[in-house]
Amino acid sequence: MTKNIKISINGVVVEIEPGTTILDAASKVGVIIPTLCYHKDLCVAGNCRVCITEIVGQKRLTAACATPCEEGMEILTNSLRVRNSRKHIIELLLSEHNADCTRCYKNGNCELQFLASEYKIMTQDFIRLAPLKKYSIDMYSPSIVKDDSKCIRCQRCVRTCVELQGVNALTVAHKGDQMKITTFFEKSMNDVVCTNCGQCINHCPTGALVEKNYIEEVWDAIADKTKHVVVQTAPAVRVGLGEELGFEAGTRVTGKMVAALKRLGFDAVMDTDFTADLTIMEEGTELLTRLKKVLVDHDEEVKLPMATSCSPGWIKYIEHMFPDYLNHLSTCKSPQQMFGALAKTYYAKARNLDPEKIISVSIMPCTAKKFEAARPEMHDSGYRDVDYVLTTRELAIMIKQAGIDFMKLDDMHYDRLMGESTGAGVIFGATGGVMEAALRTAYELVTGREVPFENLNIAPVRGMEGVKEASVKIENPLKEWAFLDGVELKCAVAHGLVNAGKVMESIRSGSASYHFIEFMACPGGCLGGGGQPIPTSPEIRQKRAEAIYAEDEGMQLRKSHQNPEIIKIYKDFLDHPLSEKSHHLLHTHYKTRERF
């Protein structure tokens, strides 16, 4: 072990491991150094210079985030020189920033605004540069709005797009005063490889990247008495929403959320978890069918491994990057789109409603879902299956606007028909959850026994490792699945598109032999989605994951096929998984896209 080193920060002596940055060392002694370009998810850039500190004896000031401590360093974080310089830097950033705060979507949740307020920048001494530049707002994407006039060039979004997602849609172009964050040939976000995952939004300190919001449209729909507005809530929303409304990260607010949605005036509040369970039924059966076609029929048309298709960010990624592998994708729609197709068919019929009068809204931890809902493929009900997609953040805004004291709400239950769910549906919100839910059902379907993991918790597919692997050996299957006897079902789970890319490369090179792979575009799965509360960090995502698994453990039913409403929908409407009706409503195909 290397010897610890001694340094002092503002006179407080501290012993730290060699290699610790000044920023981390300071936090150990309770000293907060402001940062902008620094983010726990990303590599260090050291370009905003807000975190400068003074090392006694050095003329130049040093970026705390990028500088490792050395033995005997005396560091000052609040000397006059540091204060004046830092104030200068904030002033410079503001001079280049379109500081029209009251008209900004991020007003109140902007790191630059916070710093300006902390340092009480009350005057505008420097020349305002923002109005002098010809900025345009890119509003063509259905998911993301990019406003360069609010960009502070910290490159957090670029590092996110490159390091976390491996997409490289965002990049730095030009130099000097012209330097900006843009895309290939400065095309619109809608026309490039952007997967709409929204991670750039989650990592943007200002309002330069925000979701395209549909709040007013949803208010209008609610107010329209001729419309019947149904809403669905994704699994990960219930463990994130609380953060926007005063709760600690990792607080489960399912019942309060349902109550709030009812107060907002939605006519029916139902659960995407229900269609998550339905996805398991369809996708699990599809997997087993594919296995049979490959192992028994030797059908060359059918491809393994089968890849999940719940994450629209992942779908767009594979369409751009690995279009030759599209036939590996499960044909199942995502739970959101299954719900949308059923809301205007099954639900409409059961409630005796004219589907044309139904407005289907979904609350998602995701911005890619906005794009997904707008895909031309998603009209199988005869109408647009999902009309509006709101992020967790947008829902929080609506709750605040409506004057709902969220903390004081009593828990309420989802409405019937498509509101019942199992623990298997809930864990869709965490990385590995779809895999775990699928295994719980598929294994039982094949063997008649529960999956051989303690308390149904399939630990190998849980956790925050980028790529996880698991295998389940099938022994003594039921008669109809005899061909699977002795087969070791090999699974992989990848979250964060950079990891998805790694797995895809290993498949392409032939070095991996999986049967089934779960892909999620965002780090941590949906709970770390691009529509979730800001800020995000590994710790926050961990807390949300714990909440998801706690929700699962707390449910009486934890296997999708046990869901009584699932049993009912197959009895009353769909007949059986992969029936003609499910093929029509619940399955789809994707298309090849250009790679730029």
């Binding site: 370009n47 905003c48 130049r60 020349i127 060039r153 012209q178």
Partner: protein
């Protein structure tokens, strides 16, 4: 600086290079430590501008443990007012190639690169010819060392060593955080010696004649000779090799047109010296001047009384506004504010006291910018505004 205030012309750099084969074959037989000691005792400092002791640089890279190391010759000569490296590479390329190979021998590198400024594309054919001849000889003497040219694309910032690495790695040319330094983490993350063209040429002199010949030139802390690119209001613009330590007054006597108002020492990133300071200013590493500049030292621009110092500063800032990589806040926004600021003062849109605010801003840039570019904008800005404040306002 004590003695030697007269101007002394020297002729080392451009002296014939015909004996390069002998210098090479002799020196690669010498132990690495001996060559490093030779360099250290010569007190050669980097001629690119920053003035880092060359011997120490080689020593650090030699001590770094790695299978792969690199030698890079920084020929991204971009500082306004300098044009000496171009001459060295076209007139005595073998000196530079030889020095690179010796450096490779010293630190244990088998590959060298010349990072050639984009605008110097016309040097490429001749240089490539020299490289093939050089490599042919290396083969003959069983020396495993290859040299390649890497063409820059014209960004000033890529002369900054870590931005240069990024550029060579195919990335955007943006300076890295330091530490780690190139001697342990350079090109491709490997220990790298990166030297200016002229520095390498001087090491040739040192390896050929021994450290003493070099050390005997110049004055304390500023040993040896240096090439100066003389331009501006002078009857004899050109490249001159002079001993370090001369006074600026002597320099102006020699090169001025009799009406010299100020001299910009070290290019746009250097300092402007007004007439009243000529006699108290010496050119060398101690005397605050030459060498504090960024990519290329040795630029001497003379201005006579017909020149507006406002226009000069405006021109420099225009250059920095465009050539900043745009990465860090103080440099990207600071350059824009300084430029727009002096224009606003000139037009009367801001009062004269705004210049003081800009001076403080320049100081912040110097303290906080990520690399030498942003840090050195204050050099020319402050020295011009301080000395020619009236010209900025009226």
């Amino acid at each position: 600086m004590t003695t030697n205030y007269q101007l002394k012309r020297v002729d080392f750099i451009f002296k014939n290079e015909n004996d390069w084969e002998e210098v090479l074959s002799k020196n690669i037989e010498r132990p690495s430590q001996e060559l490093i000691n030779e360099l250290i005792s010569s007190e050669l400092k980097g001629r690119g501008g920053a003035g880092f002791p060359t011997g120490l640089k080689w020593k650090l890279s030699a001590e770094a443990v790695d299978e792969i190391k690199y030698v890079i010759c920084n020929a991204d000569e971009g500082e306004p007012g300098t044009f000496k490296d171009r001459e060295i590479l076209s007139r005595v390329p073998f000196k530079v190639l030889t020095a690179m190979a010796v450096c490779g021998h010293v630190i244990g590198a088998k590959e060298g690169y010349i990072y050639l400024r984009g605008e110097y594309f016309f040097l490429q054919p001749e240089l490539n010819k020299a490289i093939s001849e050089f490599e042919y000889y290396c083969k003959e003497i069983n020396l495993d060392f290859k040299i390649k040219i890497f063409m820059g694309s014209g960004a000033y910032i890529c002369g900054e060593e870590t931005a240069l690495f990024e550029s060579m790695e195919g990335k955007r040319g943006e300076p890295r955080n330091k530490p780690p330094y190139p001697s342990s983490y350079g090109y491709m993350g490997k220990p790298t010696v990166i030297n200016n063209v002229e520095t390498l040429a001087h090491t040739f002199t040192i390896f050929k004649y021994g450290a003493k010949r070099f050390y005997d030139l110049g004055v304390q802390y500023s040993r040896g000779s240096k090439l100066f690119s003389v331009s501006g209001d002078t009857p004899k613009p050109g490249i001159y090799e002079l001993e370090l330590g001369m006074s600026l007054a002597d320099f102006v006597d020699e090169f001025g047109d009799g009406d010299t108002k100020a001299v910009q020492v070290g290019g746009a990133s250097g300092f402007l010296v007004p007439r009243k300071r000529f006699s108290e200013t010496a050119i060398g590493f101690q005397g605050k001047l030459t060498g504090i500049s960024l990519p290329t030292g040795g630029s001497m621009m003379l201005f006579n009384s017909s020149r507006s110092m406002f226009n000069v500063l405006d021109n420099y800032l225009e250059f920095f506004r465009e050539e900043s990589c745009g990465q860090c806040t103080p440099c990207r926004v600071g350059c824009q504010q300084l430029l727009k600021g002096i224009k606003a003062v000139k037009r009367g849109e801001k009062n004269a006291q705004y210049l003081d605010k800009l001076m403080r801003l320049a100081e912040t840039m110097q303290y906080t910018a990520k690399c030498g570019l942003g840090q050195s904008v204050a050099n020319s800005f402050s020295s011009i505004v301080e000395n020619f404040r009236e010209e900025m306002i009226y």
